[in-house]
Subunit: 296 residues, 2 copies
């Protein structure tokens, strides 16, 4: 193996449910990977440290793709922190400081979904475009965006999970988001599906009404995001999108909502290659974290 | 006057209702400006040509900020064209080719709202930020976005006027958009207001129910756009926004919809300086066109 021209990268996918740590030369040669549940910061960051310290070679840089809200503005005093999360114990946790001070390594930092967008752009389903959207539908709904090759941050970072959308006909669910009730995440995330039907998403049969409603909210969200960001590709991952029947349902509804108003072959004729699953599969998260380190 | 270090700029604000042409050193020294109604391409572009040819000095470059849809991708065969517009006679009109071949000048080209966003960023209400949104509420609803200093294009260009939003309580208007019925533009543009109430927006008193509905749709749109693009400032112009009472109504509803979820002082404490009218007033359009020429 010769990797003299490429740096050895580390990645930390800091998820609300689990942490995934990796070292290697992405995308193909990830020679060490470990995952463990997200418990307290002390225990979880301790295991993270143990993972990297047990490697024969420390990476040249580490990328951190984190759950949020997080402070991703490099000029801010609290850059690198998880900020106002409701997750117990994690409020105001300094992830970049942790990596820099315990491993003496440079760290890049972004949201989990921006990380996944960066990874898909570098090695996955978005390699041929510079404007893309990565959406994760699972325990929440997250959206990361790349515009002209650069992840979108702005004032804080996008929070696409909390969009306001028209209700589906006959849907009177009050919504599951503690902040907004029936926002997108409150209607269409995995926990919202379970709260509404009393059955976890993965146990609902494909012909259940739940999937009609799910396709409604997800396709309206994708339509609005296309109208706002004009992405060249929309990549949809996360646990709920493991239900592959959602893809054709979303594609046809998006075409129907747009009604040929956006005159783009990619949407009108090529939508099967426009709204797609992640090219990196379930490694999108940790590879995305490693992708962030490329910017250092 | 000394302007030796700055180029002499021309601007064409190509609106669906009127064209505005200007020459000068923006923002303060616009020494020639003319506007005329948008009729046929032959007549309208003829008057545009006459304007520039009658100047003592031709500008160094011309920026064109146009109604759409338009092809703003420099690598495309039809770059510089107005494309699939329903406006009679204007489909497939080559505006960049017109300027280059009749005036032998370099031309920059973007949507009217991206132009206004560029102008506000250069000289108006967005000079201190690099991520901003410019929304125009008038004969249509248009949105231009700047992300890290660069106007958003992507696949085509944003079409924020056609967002799908929840209806206001008690609102059963079928909507005025020929493509989407009750989309944002179909519910909240000037012509939609007139179609719904039978009275033009400018003649409706400030306590008319129309403004409750208008504030509903505009504030939901702004909320969704903040959640998607995370702008550092939202600038709202256009004929409908001449109704100044809309600003406090939109600001308070946006705060209420977001419900402190986006933890940013700019929104929670500083919203009067976050959702604002254009700094360039009704010159935002033509100054924006001139601003586009700065990129040449």
């Amino acid at each position: 193996m010769t990797h003299t021209s490429t740096p050895l990268l580390g990645g930390i996918e800091a998820g609300g449910t689990k942490f995934v740590c990796a070292v290697g030369y992405p995308p193909d040669n990830i020679y060490a990977l470990e995952q463990f549940p997200t418990t307290t910061p002390r225990e979880t960051l301790g295991r993270t440290l143990d993972f990297f310290r047990s490697q024969p070679h420390l990476p040249d840089a580490i990328g951190i793709a984190t759950f949020g809200p997080a402070d991703v503005r490099p000029t801010s005093n609290t850059y690198g922190f998880i900020t106002s999360t409701p997750k117990p114990g994690w409020r105001n946790t300094d992830l970049v400081g942790f990596v820099e001070r315990s491993l003496y390594l440079p760290a890049a930092f972004d949201t989990d979904v921006n990380g996944a967008a960066v990874g898909e752009h570098a090695w996955g389903a978005g390699q041929d475009v510079d404007n893309l959207l990565y959406l994760s539908v699972g325990t929440g709904f997250g959206g990361g965006a790349i515009v002209e090759g650069v992840p979108v941050h702005g004032l804080v970072h996008p929070e696409m999970g909390h969009l306001n959308l028209p209700r589906a006909n006959g849907d009177d669910f009050k919504g599951h988001c503690p902040y907004h009730g029936p926002c997108l995440e409150g209607m269409a995330s995995g926990p919202a599906i379970k709260a509404r039907w009393g059955i976890p998403a993965e146990s609902l049969p494909p012909d259940h009404t739940a999937w009609e409603f799910e396709a409604h909210y997800l396709s309206l969200a994708v339509t609005n995001l296309i109208l706002t960001l004009s992405p060249e590709r929309v990549i949809m991952g996360g646990g709920v999108m493991q239900q592959e029947h959602l893809f054709p349902a979303i594609r046809s509804r998006v075409q129907s909502y747009l009604n040929d108003y956006v005159q783009a072959d990619a949407i009108i004729r090529g939508i099967d290659n426009y709204i797609v699953p992640p090219g990196l599969g379930d490694r999108a998260g940790v590879l995305g974290a490693m992708g962030l380190a490329l910017s250092l």
